[in-house]
């Protein structure tokens, strides 16, 4: 090991090369400190108590996404409410029924679909940026980038992304797209919002929807629970819900008010802060290596072990020659 000043210059050169890989430290275009939702961010306010469980939204969702769909009449079948159904690769939204009153006669219906988080964990998790958060609010997926690692499914606190496990060659992550092909154009409204006969859902600017939700709760405080689910949950979501039954009784996930991605990203960007910590470690190890270096020509004659070694305290070439003579144990 002939570490000398020239080698240290090489190390310095390598540090420069390392800078090129500083994508981990700071990526242009992706702000590390997530601000709140942008001004133009759209959302949907769901007034759960007015839903009658007609499941027309499921029909519209499948139809819009281009999936095979049964007749609209078949959606009147209420037997599907016997068990909790989750969004699936061929239907991005599902309606579930929960007992509203103690006697269970009158159900309350809950619509499950992607919340389109303000600061989505799935987007943070995605290794290739196949998931993307648009300023308009939607979180969309680009299958051509996807490697199929399914980390987005691990990351999503609402367990929304689903996977086409049965597709052997080109499986996709499937989740609500916020009908991005429509909503990215002026006047476009998501298919489920459009079809709803009871106007359960209101599509609009998220800030205005929050105002509307507070108005509704304020106008009818005995009916509504004083909680807008999605205002703060997981750092806020584009889809907002108001209810007359506490959300924990409707299987809504209990989650803190910051996105799970904040912690992982702060750890990661802390480790890679301006690429200093890895380079400092590199430099430190190089220094240790240099300080512990052996005599230049043949290390054979020099003791190379420090005395604090737990093993052989005198690892000279002689002891190396001898070492097989020891029956057991490193300490002669």
């Amino acid at each position: 090991m002939d570490t000398n000043r020239r080698d240290f210059l090489k190390i310095v050169g390598l540090l420069g090369a390392g800078k090129a890989a500083s994508a981990l430290a700071d990526v242009p275009g992706i702000p590390q400190e997530k601000a709140g939702p942008s001004e133009e961010a759209m959302g949907v306010l769901v007034d759960l108590p007015s839903c009658i469980g007609c499941r027309k939204c499921e029909y519209a969702c499948k139809k819009h996404a281009g999936f095979p769909v049964d007749s609209i009449e078949s959606y009147n079948d209420k037997s599907v409410f016997s068990h909790h159904r989750r969004p699936s690769p061929d239907c991005y939204t599902k309606i579930n029924a929960f007992p509203k009153s103690q006697d269970g006669t009158q159900p309350i219906y809950v619509k499950d679909n992607c919340f389109h988080c303000v600061d989505p964990a799935c987007v943070s998790a995605c290794i290739v940026g196949a998931l993307r958060k648009h300023p308009q609010g939607a979180v969309t997926y680009d299958a051509s980038k996807c490697i199929g690692c399914r980390y987005c499914m691990v990351a999503c606190p609402f367990e929304i992304p689903t996977y086409e496990y049965d597709n052997a060659l080109t499986p996709e992550v499937r989740k609500c797209t916020f009908c991005f092909d429509r909503t990215s154009k002026p006047g476009g409204v998501p298919a489920c919002v459009e079809i709803c006969p009871r106007e359960v859902m209101t599509y609009g600017k998220r800030s205005e929807l929050l105002r509307l939700a507070r108005e509704k709760i304020g106008a009818n405080p005995t009916k509504y629970v004083n909680h807008i689910y999605g205002e703060h949950e997981a750092g806020g979501t584009s889809w907002l819900y108001i209810s007359d039954v506490p959300f924990e009784k409707l299987d809504y996930v209990k989650i803190s008010n910051t996105s799970p991605a904040r912690l992982t990203e702060s750890v990661q960007h802390g480790i890679f802060k301006h690429f200093v910590p890895p380079l400092a470690l590199y430099g430190l190890l190089g220094l240790i290596m240099w300080m512990n270096r052996t005599a230049p020509q043949d290390g054979g004659g020099e003791p190379v072990l420090a005395n604090d070694s737990p093993g052989d305290p005198s690892d000279t070439a002689d002891s190396a020659l001898d070492r097989d003579n020891h029956k057991a144990g490193g300490k002669p």
Binding site: L14, S124, I127
Partner: protein, 410 residues
């Protein structure tokens, strides 16, 4: 960097001049032994099931579902594989950075384990990825996603695999240097080895840095799922715990694998080196244990230990048999000199860290909407066993043809 230590680490070219010292040499053994046949069969079975997965898809071959996106192919083949390959960077740091040349005998076996371990991590990932043919996408700058913990892991693992292969170049070169029947190849190898040797220190330090980065980031992966991971394991310091456990399992893995190799190939184990190496284990494992216990106490999550769930039982097994028992076992010097206790303790630590990874990624993973628990399918188990068998086979092939293991000539 190794070529300077002519006496303790002679390449094959020194053998004609200094034949006295035991040095890394190919171990000449019959190829087809009963053990090899068993491994070949297991590898073949695994290959068939892997083929089944590629033809019929993940749905047909695994027990994964919409709530359980990751199974044993990630938890064992990838995450445990990375953890148990940590011996390569811990021994590289010990021998080449802290210059404890006394341990040279384990340098190449550990390096080989690491290089093969990470290679099979990549292969395991190929089987698990839904769009395996896009595995190279993270290398494209246009797809870099610096916020992604998985991106950090992926890039570091790719770089580190390259480093491991570079570190392995001298081993391959030594095989041919001085080979009279291929004079041109021998000359080329000699030249290559010289060039690589000059710059090797850069790679060795890079390997240690890259390892520290991705071993910890692997723990950071699950930090993004606070509502899904059991509180016994979920902690913001998961990255630190993963790093500490990787460092702690490095030497035990080297000892485990050295003793297994010695017994399988009927060689005398380098016991003095191994027991000296084992002296580092109690402090390293002790630091991990201290952080683990401290984390339980500070977060107050120890209250979940007595809830009688599968999770609490698995946590207790992991900690008692995987950490505390081997820690206590290896404290007395006498136990470290005894091959039996050395083997048992090392095996326990290896299994303990493996169980920790399985626990964090599978047992602790309990998403609120899960309607059932995950248990691997026959295909998943067969592929994982096939992968491990194939790794052992390639390891055997390597040590019988390349100068990896330090032993006296037969």
């Amino acid at each position: 960097m190794m070529h300077q230590k002519a006496v303790t680490l002679p390449g094959a070219r020194h053998l004609d001049t200094v034949p006295v010292v035991p040095s890394p040499m190919p171990v000449e053994r019959r190829w087809l032994t009963p053990g090899v046949v068993v491994l070949l069969v297991l590898t073949g079975v695994g290959l068939c099931f892997a083929l089944y997965r590629f033809v019929f898809g993940l749905g047909a071959s695994t027990n994964l579902d919409q709530q359980h996106p990751w199974g044993i192919w990630i938890a064992i083949d990838v995450c445990t594989g990375v953890a148990l390959s940590a011996g390569a960077f811990t021994t590289a740091a010990l021998i080449h950075i802290f210059h404890r040349e006394y341990f040279h005998a384990v340098s190449r076996p550990a390096l080989l384990t690491g290089a093969l371990g990470y290679t099979f991590v990549g292969l395991g990932l190929l089987v698990d990825l839904g769009r395996y043919y896009n595995i190279w996408h993270p290398m494209l700058p246009s797809m870099w996603q610096g916020n992604s913990v998985l991106f950090e892991v992926g890039i570091c693992v790719m770089c580190y695999l390259t480093v491991l292969y570079v570190e392995f170049i001298p081993v391959v070169c030594d095989r041919f240097i001085g080979d009279g029947s291929h004079p041109r190849l021998a000359r080329y190898c000699d030249k290559t080895r010289h060039v690589v040797g000059k710059t090797m220190f850069l790679f060795i330090i890079a390997g240690v840095v890259l390892s520290c980065l991705h071993q910890s980031s692997l723990g950071n992966l699950m930090v993004i799922a606070p509502t899904k991971v059991n509180p016994l394991w979920y902690t913001p310091i998961l990255p630190l715990l993963f790093l500490l456990s990787a460092i702690a399992v490095g030497f035990p893995m080297v000892i485990f694998e050295s003793l297994c190799t010695a017994w399988a190939l009927k060689l005398k184990p380098e016991l003095s080196v191994l027991s000296a190496l084992a002296a580092y284990i109690p402090p390293l494992l002790g630091v991990y244990l201290a952080f683990k216990v401290g984390d339980l106490v500070i977060r107050g999550s120890w209250v979940h230990l007595t809830d009688g769930s599968v999770q609490s039982t698995m946590f207790i097994i992991e900690m008692v048999f995987g950490v505390i028992v081997p820690f206590v076992m290896l404290l007395p010097v006498r136990a470290r000199r005894e091959p039996r206790s050395l083997f048992i303790a090392s095996t326990l630590i290896v299994l303990g860290v493996a169980l920790n990874r399985i626990n964090v990624f599978l047992v602790a993973y309990n998403p609120p909407y899960a309607s059932r628990t995950y248990f691997p399918s026959v295909s998943e188990i067969a592929v994982t066993i096939g992968m491990i068998s194939a790794l052992v086979l390639v390891y055997r092939l390597a040590v019988t043809h390349l100068p990896v293991i330090t032993h006296e000539p037969d």
